[in-house]
């Protein structure tokens, strides 16, 4: 019987193997994680909703299947949790918003379905920034999520709850969504692996839409191999999503295992140096990044300078496009067919009251901006123009990849900041996406991996971001695995939440 301590720290790959070979049961793993949730949630608040009875039933079903000799899926018995943006049949889904308070979906989204089919045990739904809009998980009508590394600091966003849970060991794999960095940035702030696949690699059906041409679902894990395992289960075409790609799914674990030997001979890593000279890049982030580059070179990689001529316009471009699409995707929330309805005497008042009371400030801000850029009189100058600049940005990356295999940058220009410090300055918040949005605009796969900590207390994680050409996830995972094999950052645990669940200082 494995102790709870070792169970909550194990990788998904090890747990699934252990369930398959009988070393442990799905039920005991489930209990260990549920106990962990109990021990940490009052401080971290990662979960929006825990579903212990469902989880236990799923775990039991896995154990019974094993007893019968049935084949078990690649994630058999692995406890996972889903950002509350993912539609789960019969389990209330709010997408971080009051406007969907009480909404219990009548259908299963593709992600929940695929993960369940793979044998995963779903522990619950994770807190997030409302409708995916935010970089700190502070855009929430409910309890703020705390960074397990420093409880008065933000975990990042919009998949802040996902990052906090995986990092606190209250789930093993967390599923997040990434529109402008919402998987990678929280991963960076919480010492995790966060993977955003190529656009279209994973279905969007059942992922509540924020910005349709930018959104992608992806895993947050503590180990690169677990991200590969999760991607293997999630990747593939979906007949209910016509933007999903009908291309073969390669063997991602093989790429990880190849990389874990720690050699990157001949790998050309592109560097956009101008971005590093910008104002706002934290000195500690820079230090960790340079050290990470040195490590990659030690492993045999070659650094190549590249240009990204439209880099300085990417944030503006992103915010025109994502707010336009968001204003469109959120037009359906009017209280007529589902969700909360603020009933009023007239239809117009019902619409206005429902939306005004249901949406938070950031969502309103983005809807207004999006409405502005789509007005007939503004279209050509804003949305139309931004769509052309997006083409230029995509071309920039394509040109860069003619000269290198991967691009490297810091994930976030700063480590985690104190809760409340940036909430009054939306523009400052938007600018912190500067390194991550390029991958969304160009539809490229990108990963953030643990790359160090800032020296000043509290000791907070700093991530390294790697970007690859479209559908080159194997290349990405191989390099990430190599870096991971040569470093120990990923093995560290948040000091405030010891592995055994005991609190420091009583």
């Amino acid at each position: 019987m494995a102790s709870e301590a070792s169970l909550v720290d194990r990788s998904a790959r090890a747990l699934a193997a252990g369930v398959r070979d009988g070393s442990f049961s799905a039920s005991e793993i489930c209990e260990a994680l549920l106990a962990r949730i109990d021990a940490t949630e009052d401080r971290v608040h990662a979960y929006r909703r825990v579903t212990p009875e469902r989880a236990r039933a799923q775990a039991r079903a896995i154990d019974e299947a094993r007893a019968r000799g049935d084949a078990l899926g690649p994630l058999a018995g692995v406890p996972i949790a889903l950002k509350d943006i993912f539609v789960t049949a019969g389990v209330e889904t709010n997408c971080g918003s009051k406007i969907l308070a009480g909404w219990t979906p009548p259908y299963a989204g593709s992600h929940a379905q695929r993960l369940a089919d793979a044998g995963a045990v779903v522990l619950g739904k994770l807190s997030m920034d409302e409708f995916g809009m935010g970089s700190s998980n502070e855009n929430t009508p409910w309890e703020l999520v705390r960074n397990p590394w420093a409880l008065d600091y933000v975990p990042g966003g919009s998949s802040g709850g996902t990052a906090a849970a995986v990092s606190a060991r209250s789930c093993v794999i967390g599923l997040g969504s990434d529109t402008g960095g919402s998987i990678r940035q929280p991963a960076s702030l919480c010492n995790l692996v966060g993977l955003k696949p190529s656009y279209g690699r994973v279905s969007r059906r059942g992922m509540i839409a924020f910005a349709s041409s930018l959104d992608q679902a992806g895993p947050m894990t503590r180990a690169v191999e677990d991200a590969a395992l999760a991607l293997q289960v999630l990747a593939g075409p979906d007949p209910r999503d016509s933007s999903s790609l009908d291309v073969p799914v390669p063997d991602y674990l093989a790429a990880v295992d190849a990389g874990a030997r720690g050699q990157l001979d001949g790998l050309r890593i592109g560097l956009h140096r101008a971005a590093l000279e910008r104002e706002g890049l934290d000195a500690e982030v820079r230090r960790c990044f340079e050290a990470a580059l040195a490590e990659l070179v030690d492993a045999g990689a070659e650094l190549v300078d590249v240009e990204l001529p439209h880099f300085d316009h990417a944030v503006a471009c992103y915010y025109v496009l994502c707010t336009a699409e968001a204003s469109s995707n959120l037009a359906r929330y009017d209280g007529v067919r589902y969700g909360v309805r603020e009933a009023r005497p007239s239809l117009a008042e019902t619409y206005a009251a429902t939306r005004s009371r249901g949406f938070g400030a950031e969502v309103k801000r983005r809807i207004l901006l999006g409405t502005f850029v789509l007005r007939a009189e503004s279209y050509a100058d804003y949305y139309g123009r931004a769509m052309k600049i997006r083409t230029l940005i995509a071309r920039d990356y394509a040109a860069a990849f003619a000269r290198c295999d991967l691009l490297a940058s810091p994930t976030s220009p700063v480590p985690a900041w104190p809760i409340g410090a940036k909430i009054d300055d939306p523009l400052a918040m938007y600018l912190s996406d500067v390194f991550t949005i390029g991958a969304n605009l160009a539809g490229l796969p990108a990963i953030s991996i643990p790359a160090g900590f800032c020296a000043a207390a509290p000791r907070r994680p700093i991530g390294l971001q790697l970007l690859a050409p479209r559908l080159a996830e194997p290349s990405l995972l191989r390099a990430a695995a190599a870096y991971e094999a040569r470093t120990a950052w990923h093995r560290e645990r948040p000091p405030l939440i010891a592995a055994t669940g005991e609190r420091e200082g009583g």
Binding site: T104, S242, Y319, A343, L369, R375, R385, K388, I389, L392
Partner: protein, 101 residues
């Protein structure tokens, strides 16, 4: 300047079916103004002859066959409707001038 920004917010709120309190609208006006100021930098990019972005490898149409495949029972879908009269979805009476479109 602030009046213009506030007027703009009021107009946009109307289009987006949002009802904003005065102080809320004022705050948003200021923030929107700042963000729009930042976005102005897009005008300096030369986009002559550049097409609007289309996902490559998406140049297949993603069509499906004309075969029924219902994901959710009609009754289950209706179960989530906030206000109904029997099987019909109910809203406060509005002027019957036909659909806008």
């Amino acid at each position: 300047m602030p009046d213009q920004a506030r007027a703009l917010v009021d107009e946009l709120a109307q289009l987006a079916q949002l009802e904003l309190a005065d102080d809320e609208a004022d705050a948003l006006a200021g923030q929107l103004d700042r963000v729009l100021g930042y976005i102005e930098r897009l005008r300096s990019v030369d986009v002559a002859g550049v097409p609007e972005y289309v996902q490559d490898e998406q140049a297949r149409s993603g069509l499906r066959d004309d075969v029924p495949d219902v994901d959710v029972d009609a009754d289950e879908v209706l179960a989530g409707v906030p206000v109904r009269r029997e099987r019909l979805v109910a809203v406060p009476r509005f002027k019957s001038d036909g659909s806008e479109g």
